[in-house]
Amino acid sequence: LGLKPNSRAWKLVSPEKSKVNLRRLHSCRRTRDSILDLVLGEKEGAARAALLSQIEACPGCSEHYRSLSGTLSNFDDAIAATSPDEDYWQAFDTRLQNRIVAASPSRKLNVADIKRALRSKVRIPVPLAAGLTITFMAAIIGLATRPRPVKIVEIRVPGEPTERIVEVPVIQEKVVTRKVFVEKKATETVATPVVPAADRNPRMMVASAAENGGSITRANLEGFQPANDMRIRVIRRNDGGEK
């Protein structure tokens, strides 16, 4: 068994002392607890050999060990007998590969990917995370409440007349009005002062004559000064004619 002479395991399994030692040291309860480890391959080397010796010396433990080993043996036989054959495996490999290719992340982004992205383990210190969050929120609020600049856009409709301001010279006319008092009783007398013929306004004289029934009336035109120049105002119509 490869045990060192006079070692504890050797003493247990040595032909001279084994029977006496085993009868004295054996505990079925302890041994049966270890039998499970033995049949499942947890015991190796000297411990395995010592346990097998104890099992051999005890009929009850021996039966227990035999039944457990037989159970595993039958289980393995059943598993081997019901395993699929090669035809099944080839078809299985094809189906598995097709399934993996169909579920490739490059083809679709599923919910699990989103959850994984949200649960990614990026470790950020709490103060830094809080600062970043506050900054981010402030930026969003600032952008939302910022007044938008008003931009005037001139819209021109084709065919509509445009309006523009053009400077033109304006002639300011001064209108002078005078009240003329005429004495009705003095129709036969000559009005004084006498206005020189050159200064008489024929138009005014005609008007006065018409008002007095064709007779010439003397009028008081004291201080009246006719305009030295005469201006003509021409009003041009849109159709090109003159008025």
């Binding site: 947890e42 019901t82 395993s83 490999d93």
Partner: protein, 213 residues
């Protein structure tokens, strides 16, 4: 099956993992080809139903594909994959009764029938009719005994007996104490023993011990 032996194109596993992390589905398919059968066998033993097992194993691979970026290379790829597997198995829909006969090729899925497979296996052994009948009866008993286990008991037992994990590794994978794992596996073994009705017709202890020595 030897894990990783079926990697094709002489590309190392590390390179495939690196590509898969970059979203290369083809590289991940090669990883799935290397370990897919091992995962699927475990799923088959866990579910004992071909359709459920296929759903389960595919779910494991899809979850692994989505989570491949979390693999840091601190353990082997299969160790990491096993964690995904354990979580997926335990979260798999409950209440599914184990079935011995599953839909076969009639549904066009190239499925398999566990008992039919067992018949073929026994026939290949060239045993006589009595031996075949006994063996088939034993297989049915194994299936029924597995059905009596809770999913967690079944998974712990499979991880220990089929995957060869230690108690510590199982406790770490499932998230419980080592004592809980030991008790659970021991109870599972006792249930299986009761279900199989094993008492006689077993090799003698001397013969077994002699064989182990």
């Amino acid at each position: 099956l030897i894990a990783g032996a079926r990697l094709v194109l002489n590309i190392s596993e590390d390179e495939l993992i690196k590509r898969a992390k970059g979203g290369d589905a083809e590289a991940f398919c090669q990883l799935a080809t290397a370990y897919g059968r091992r995962v699927h066998l475990l799923a088959l033993h866990f579910c004992r139903d071909a359709h459920d097992a296929e759903d389960l194993s595919q779910e494991v691979w899809l979850k692994a594909f989505r989570a491949i970026h979390t693999f840091r290379g601190e353990s082997s790829f299969y160790t990491w994959l096993r964690r995904v597997l354990v979580n997926t198995f335990l979260n798999h829909r409950r209440g599914h009764r184990l079935r011995l006969v599953v839909p076969s090729q009639a549904d066009g899925n190239n499925g398999f029938d566990a008992l039919e497979m067992a018949d073929r296996f026994l026939a290949s052994k060239k045993s006589d009719l009595e031996q075949m009948t006994d063996a088939k009866l034993m297989m049915e008993r194994v299936m029924n005994a597995l059905q009596e286990l809770t999913p967690q008991q079944r998974l712990m037992f499979l991880l220990k007996h089929r995957e060869g994990l230690t108690y510590v590794e199982i406790a770490d994978a499932i998230g419980c104490s080592i004592g809980t794992v030991k008790k659970s596996i021991f109870r599972t073994l006792l249930k299986l023993r009761t279900g199989l009705g094993i008492e006689a017709e077993q090799p003698s202890l001397e013969a077994r011990v002699a064989g182990e020595k």
